[in-house]
Symmetry: C2
Amino acid sequence: MKVQDEAILHLQIAESIIEKIRSGEYRESEKIPSENELCRQFHVNRHVVRQAIARMTNLGWVTPVQGKGCYINRIMKPVQYVLSSQTRFSENMSNQGVPHKSKLLHWEAGLPSEEERTHLQLKKNETVYRLEILRYVDDTPMSVTTTVFPEAEVPGLENYFEGFHSLYGLLETYYQFRPVRSKSIFHASLPFLKDAKVLRIPESVPIVQIESLMNHPGGSPLEYSVARVRSDMHRCLIEF
Amino acid sequence: MKVQDEAILHLQIAESIIEKIRSGEYRESEKIPSENELCRQFHVNRHVVRQAIARMTNLGWVTPVQGKGCYINRIMKPVQYVLSSQTRFSENMSNQGVPHKSKLLHWEAGLPSEEERTHLQLKKNETVYRLEILRYVDDTPMSVTTTVFPEAEVPGLENYFEGFHSLYGLLETYYQFRPVRSKSIFHASLPFLKDAKVLRIPESVPIVQIESLMNHPGGSPLEYSVARVRSDMHRCLIEF
DNA sequence: GAGTGGTCTAGACCACACC
DNA sequence: GTGTGGTCTAGACCACTCA
């Protein structure tokens, strides 16, 4: 086959498969044909098929799984996250009637990084709790958040991790805290391999990074967090 | 060479080249060695080198140009865009002391799309102006914005396009309008090929899409816009 | 024409899932 | 073991840039 009849081959193949997903010929949560099968169907080399699949993967249509096959992603209308000074993950999801849960992946206590220290306005030697939280929507991992608290603010925090299901629920129950968002910084990027793994996405799928500083209602810094969110499942709404 | 000594080859190669950029051994705006040269250096197949380059490209380190070479991107600290009800592009850039300009790529008048009509609360048959604006920071294209106005709000808009340099300057000068942002919706995605072209980025580099509705200070909708912004050059800050 | 990146073919072996 | 996706090799031709 000529290299360029009119367009790039692997893009045509990707388009063709996406069309079959759109039309319902391939159904969500099922698999597209194997790479070798697609090679036969389109009379091309496996490398070309893999380029096509890579493109569909980046666009969020499919997720290849080693040893199993290439699964068609569920077409979920993206979750809308309303960002305001009062926003909490759980409440936001509940308001939209979306099933959700959180899982504490990891925690540690120790000295903050330079950046964390600056944001939280800590003195030298003041220590922090650092939590790694994975949030699910509908059993699909949606975001990983690294969140940091001054240890002095939440003494004995680790005692309450048993049966963890909501960070803000915990803060409210045991410390009577209602943190208030003071600022957030957004940007899009590609995930680190570690995050890609827990989010179960390929490393070439873009994510949104949301860096937030939360204060006491009074004003002093209470929490600094960085969330990495699957961009294909997420919209962020700000109202003025 | 074994397929996996300890990690994936093309990732190692990408890391190694990125390190040389960081350290200054390869300097920005210059080129990294050609693919064939890298093959010799790392004793690998060209395909592997290309995978490594693809990764660096997606991460925003380099931009390959056919027939010329693979250029190292200028490391620019990302522009911080402060999002508030009063935000304007020009003012934001000026406040940061960043050289900037805007270019009107295209304009048309006609019927709005269903979505545009809803957002602007237009009656059937009401027409709109649709503008395509490319914004530069420091001579680098940073964003493409499609922005829509009800024709009735800005009659004869096309008469003022000569020497276009700032949309909001134009609105203020000729119509005495100071639009107020009522809401914005963010998400990360991959660019359409058309946008990738004008932004001069590969189609696999993530962008941030910012959808905004601007009102008259009174409250009635005045402008609906969708901006596609290079994510490697852009942070968006919201303060509460 | 020589050199560069872009696309494609053909074939190999590895890692993983499932039977 | 068989089939799947993941990584890598070797080699070809095309499109583009520049001298």
